[in-house]
Amino acid sequence: MSFAEIRKKILEQENGKKYWRSLEEFADTPEFTEFLKREFPHNAEEWDSSLSRREFVKLMGASLALAGLSGCVIQPPEKIVPYVRQPEEIIPGKALYFATAMTLSGIATGLLVKSNEGRPTKIEGSPEHPGSLGATDVFAQAALLGLYDPDRSQQITYLGSPRTWQNFITEIRAKIDELRPSGGAGLRFLSETVVSPTLAGQIKQLLSELPNARWYQYEPINHDNAIAGAKLAFGSPVQVVYQFDKADRILSLDKDIFSEFNVRYMKDFAKGRAFTEEKQEINRLYAVETTLTLTGAKADHRLAVKPSQMVVVAKAIASALGVSSIEVDRATLDEKTNKWIDAMARDLLAHKGKTIVMVGDNQPPIVHALAYAMNEVLGNVGKTLYYIEPFAPNAENLQIDQLRQLIQEIDSGQVRMLVILGGNPVYNTPADLKLSKERMLKIPLRVHVGLYNDETAELCQWHISEKHFLESWGDTRAYDGTVTMIQPLIKPLYNSRSIYEVVQVFFKENYDKSDLDIVKDFWKAQSAKQTSGQADTDFEKQWRRAVHDGFMQNTAYQPKSVSVDFNRVAQEVQRFEAAAKTDELEIAILPDPTIYDGRFSNNGWLQELPKPITKVTWDNVALVSPNTAARLGLNQAGRNPNEQAGGAQGITFFNTKGGNLFSDLVKLKFNGAEISKPVPIWIQPGQPDDVITIFLGYGRTRSGKVGTGIGYDAYEVRRSDALYFGFGNLQKTGEQTAIASTQIHFNMEGRDVLRVWDVEQFKENPDMGHQHDEYPKSLYPRYDYSDETAEWRHKWAMTIDLNACVGCNACVIACQAENNIPVVGKEQVQRSREMHWLRVDAYYMGDDVNNPNDLAFQPVLCQQCELAPCEVVCPVHATVHSAEGLNDMVYNRCVGTRYCSNNCPYKVRRFNFLLYQDWDTPQYKLMRNPEVTIRSRGVMEKCTYCVQRISLARIEARKQGRRVLDGEATTACQTVCPTDAIVFGDWNDEQSRVAKMKKDKRNYILLNELNTQPRTTYLAALKNQNPEMPDYVKPPEIKHKTEKHEATEKNEAH
């Protein structure tokens, strides 16, 4: 149809308009619209002139040639509207940082969260905050995924159907008004440990309005034992604040400071551990523990003790340290243990006032009381530690007692209304105090506020979706009591409310208040109290400052002066009865290292994060010692006997069936109750014999797409009288299961991979780590940096101080969050296809598989080789050397031959075997770092030294016409590291930290003999052993003499 025809047709129409506003209106016929809109309308004008064959062919040829130029489809227009009014401080593409905080297990870490156009995309520690000093741990890192978890509860529901906030307020207030005359009798609140001053204030007000209501706190992992121990020792509850940087000798009684939520302790510990030219004395860590933990791995001397023996050992240590009137029969302990205790005690006594004795929360109160006494005797109080008032209101009542009271009240039918504020008590209460379905149904009205529609939400009529801490206002306290502010980074993604807002609903007046108003008004009132109602402007300033900094200056708790009542401690020790000896196995219960008490079970990053010691992912296992496994015939299938025993090569495989990881499933009984799901067995060196360790947090039935149904549920058998250990036995089911572990071989095979030196030996032989320079021996010419146009000649490099590294895995998650690394799932991890760019390798040392001398950790990421084996073999130039010396990975160019990975001796490259990235879930789109490419399937990827961060720093520096300063460009793993083990910077800058670290005598190249000339190097770990200890391991003789090294060095110089 030709244009002329259309025109004619339109004009001929009877309803042809005489006046029109637009061409479309004038010619509102289907044909015309089509003619306009479609590129090739039906019956488009035909070529009506007759054409010779020759001309036709010519024309066709020309059309074909031109077709290539015109492309295929016209792209629909996309409208991009710039800000009409530019919001203050928001520059598209430029990230902003806001201070906030995360609270876990009763303390907070201050955070600095990166926000891209209003989306939080990366969590960092707040450098000024006393609880962080810039570092974070795995849980804080993974909180980002928690925010964007698509399985989070998204609305307020009543019996499963959506309701509005107004619905909730109206209905609940009607119920409260019914209860109000009786003073709130029958109204019960159950929350997790209350740390927030505002919430504590709200509780106070609420309980004064409704005096017969009760507020209980319960968390499965709490500090009950420490509090109870303090009540024993001091007569009043305290909370301990340690200052590890001031301690030279540290004794841990089953306390794992490297897995707890306190990164400040790790920072301080690393400070005391640091070895420099100036500071040649490093701290010494003794660990007495059951299950091998990170603290035990880092310890210079570790004593593996059965849980039932712990009290006896603690008593023996106390008496050896001279705690008065502690009688102990040392004969019950074996000779080695006695020697161990005595030598250790002598060492502690020689460092009075510079030691710390600390106890894990899983140890009974009596051990805590003994530790308080020991610290007092050692003169540590006020020097390396001090006591403060506990944060939580009602702290003198143990949480387990509070829970017990609630359960009693429910059983006796007193509870009319239960408001569960956070937490998942239906899942995580102990078996004998289970907030079971029967109990829940006895309560007429049940309200749940939580992040997930979980087991507890299922049994409550009302469910309020809780705001994630990145969405809400609030306050909390750091480990030393410093008031820490929580501010939202993003408007709530869903229709959620914070706990403050829900509690406010129960007030007589002002019941519908936003969390900002609640928190701000609380502090306004506090400020008014202090300044006796003076100017508001002062407060406004203070408030802005606190929100900006993330915490309030000088709000740390003052030390509480208490003294140990030695007689009472001695009496209690006398009274304490050791558990009766049985033939049964002992079972210890611990929170999971990555899933914690179960609250992170739907977090894919944490599920796939290898447990720091076992490297198991996606499962909880039951740990047994190799001896016990052999005795009970567990995990012995297909074992090559050569590989099991240590021998000269040390310890090799555990839990393998010809190499793959298999695990026997057993039925496990704990104090008479049986875990319903079969429990996979895992052989763990360093575990005491006849002790099984099981982990909490798994076996969730309503967790989400990620966490539901995996693992066994240890809460099923946990009892209020046996929260952390008890007795039990196991029965083989004869079945096996496959476990996904990221490492199956834990022995260095005599290779020079991870250097752990004795500190004294190193001091005597500072050149013991000498390596030959293989640089000249390359076939290919070295990269010519002088040709490059790079202005400033940066030479990016990294050092990893293995002496500082404790293996906490924070770097792994930080890398995952920064670089948009996907989660692949258990089945893919089993196939050894995990995608972590940075992994933490673990190696056992020593000949005895049951009692390894040491377990050391080594983070391995792309070593950014100068002579990179990967670069040479890529057929398409997808991995190339950059002018600043990085091995750049060009994802778009990669065709996926995997040759680079085969040729990488460090095996740090990761391949997208399948489409691992989730391209569709909208929440994840918000989460990702916009500066890092999302890799699709079939592409190789690897660590880039966070090249996007380097670029950002470079751009800033170029704008000012200077080189990038040291510390301006940081990698994600470096920033997060709680022990500052990772240092990154410009090697060409003589003054940079990394350049200095490279000159350290401990600095060494991994696989130096391959002449890859990596930019990443390691600093040897040091052990500070006490030669008097019975488990002292004499360091091996140095093979090459120092003089010889000097000679060769001279030769090389010539």
Binding site: G659, R751, R833, C894, N902, N903, K907
Partner: protein, 477 residues
């Protein structure tokens, strides 16, 4: 005289048996494609292998949809069945060209009755081999980036990478082999064209024979072309597998990084290739009654070649182990320990030694070399052994390299197997089609073995004949 002949025959059987003249040779070979009814066993075999080939199709479809993750490859075992199969097929592809080119140059008359199907085998094996490097990439639709072609990105491939050399080596080899095979076929296609009754066949073979009339000039050109191609192919036989071996020896992985690889791989390839030729020749001989052309002599020679190359390969194994120890490098040492004794795949190694080392020792004896059953069995064992050899080299070297923390196990998935079996199906499907439509033995070359080919009183070579004919032509304008 009779006695001497008998003695000689018992020592070395003739390479052509039965009473044949030009016509019977043409009949016997040509009739398979033209006259004889397609035998029932052909349909059965073709159907089976065609079905298996469909498995390949299905696997490849799924592979393209999902990614190489459907296979068992992982970190650190980045290459596994994909590259094992590639090297295995390329190796098999070696014998064909060796027989046609090198034996032609060495004037080995016995090659004439086996070179045609051996070359076909080469082509089909290379076709199967070529699938793997293409499909093993993460993004096969971009695999063309390995070719140096002008592009808007201004990018060349990386010439330092052995994979790059592979692309050239294999594609050149495939092209030259195809040409060689086709050129050799032209006179036979002409024979078929002349003998075909059906019009369709006449036309098809007519096109394929490019107007061959058998004139002396044709023969002259033909011989020169054939010789040139033989000369071109000869270095290729050595280069292709040398370059394939560079994929491994250029890298720095213990177990790959060895200077012995090129000759060791070439010998292995010939070894595997001859095994496959025997696997094909023995049934062909029976099913199509080709005993006159593929005689005991051929089997005997091939057995000897297998023995010789097999021994070279065994020498390679010995040297690998020796240098693992002698190098005094702990990684090399561990690699050998892990391969032979300490690792979980140790039995693959000993199975390999059994297949490639022990089984061929039987070939020292004429009794086994002259027994079709034993030759066939040994050939199958050797084929398995050569596959195992690549498994040992690729997987057991990769799965435990430098840092013990990255060590892992490899286990294939069902798609690894279906892809491998699928290529076997594809290979035999092609071979069945070849048997049905192309003379499986070079008709004209076998004719040259007949006494009639030597009727001239004195020995004349082709050039002399051509010259005579040319002169005659000039004489009679």
């Amino acid at each position: 005289m009779q006695d001497i002949k008998q003695i000689r025959e018992s020592f070395s059987p003739p390479i052509l048996e039965g009473k044949h003249d030009f016509a019977t040779v043409s009949d016997k070979i040509g009739d398979i494609t033209l006259k004889r009814k397609t035998p029932f066993h052909w349909f059965v075999g073709f159907a089976i292998f065609f079905l298996i080939a469909q498995m390949l199709l299905a696997t490849v479809t799924y592979l393209l949809l999902k990614g190489v993750g459907i296979w068992g490859n992982n970190q650190p075992v980045g290459w596994a069945f994909d590259i094992i199969n590639f090297v295995w097929w390329i190796g098999i592809g070696h014998a064909g060209t060796l027989i046609s080119a090198i034996l032609l140059l060495l004037n080995q008359k016995w090659r004439t009755s086996i070179n045609r199907f051996a070359e076909a085998m080469t082509l089909f094996a290379v076709a199967c081999a070529g699938l793997f490097p293409l499909l093993h990439t993460g993004r096969p639709w971009l695999a063309y980036w390995l070719f140096p072609y002008p592009n808007t990105m201004g990018m060349w491939p990386q010439f330092r990478s052995p994979l790059m050399w592979d692309v050239f080596a294999v594609s050149t080899y495939a092209t030259v082999s195809l040409l060689f095979w086709y050129v050799g076929l032209i006179p036979d296609f002409a024979t078929l064209r002349d003998r075909a009754k059906s019009k369709v066949f006449k036309i098809i073979y007519g096109i394929l024979s490019w107007g061959w009339r058998g004139s002396a000039r044709h023969w002259h050109r033909y011989e020169i072309a054939y010789l040139i191609l033989a000369g071109l192919s000869t270095p290729l036989v050595l280069s292709v597998h040398s370059i394939v071996s560079f994929d491994f020896s250029v890298s720095q992985l213990p177990g790959w990084h060895a200077t012995i690889f090129p000759p060791y791989f070439v010998a292995g390839a010939i070894f595997a290739g001859f095994a496959m030729v025997l696997i094909l020749a023995i049934p062909l001989r029976h099913l199509y009654n080709m005993k006159d052309f593929i005689t005991l002599a051929h089997l005997d020679y091939m057995g000897k070649v297998m023995l010789a190359t097999g021994l070279i390969v065994c020498y390679g194994y010995a040297m690998e182990a020796f240098f693992g120890w002698y190098s005094a490098a702990q990684y090399e040492y561990y690699m050998i320990y892990n391969r032979i004794w300490g690792g979980p795949y140790w039995w693959f190694y000993w199975l390999l030694i059994l297949c490639n080392g022990l089984s061929i020792q039987l070939l020292w004896f004429k009794r086994f070399r002259h027994s079709e059953f034993w030759l066939f069995t040994i050939s199958v064992i050797v084929s398995i052994g050569m596959w195992l050899e690549r498994f040992v080299i690729i997987v057991t070297s990769l799965h435990r390299d430098f840092l013990p923390s990255s060590w892992a196990m490899y286990s294939p998935t069902i798609y690894d197997y279906s892809m491998f079996l699928g290529t076997i199906g594809f290979f035999f499907t092609l071979f069945y089609l070849f048997v049905r439509f192309v003379p499986i033995i070079s008709i004209f070359e076998v004719r040259t073995l007949l006494p009639e080919a030597h009727v001239h009183g004195h020995h004349q070579d082709f050039e002399e004949i051509v010259n005579e004919v040319e002169i005659e032509k000039i004489d009679k304008p």
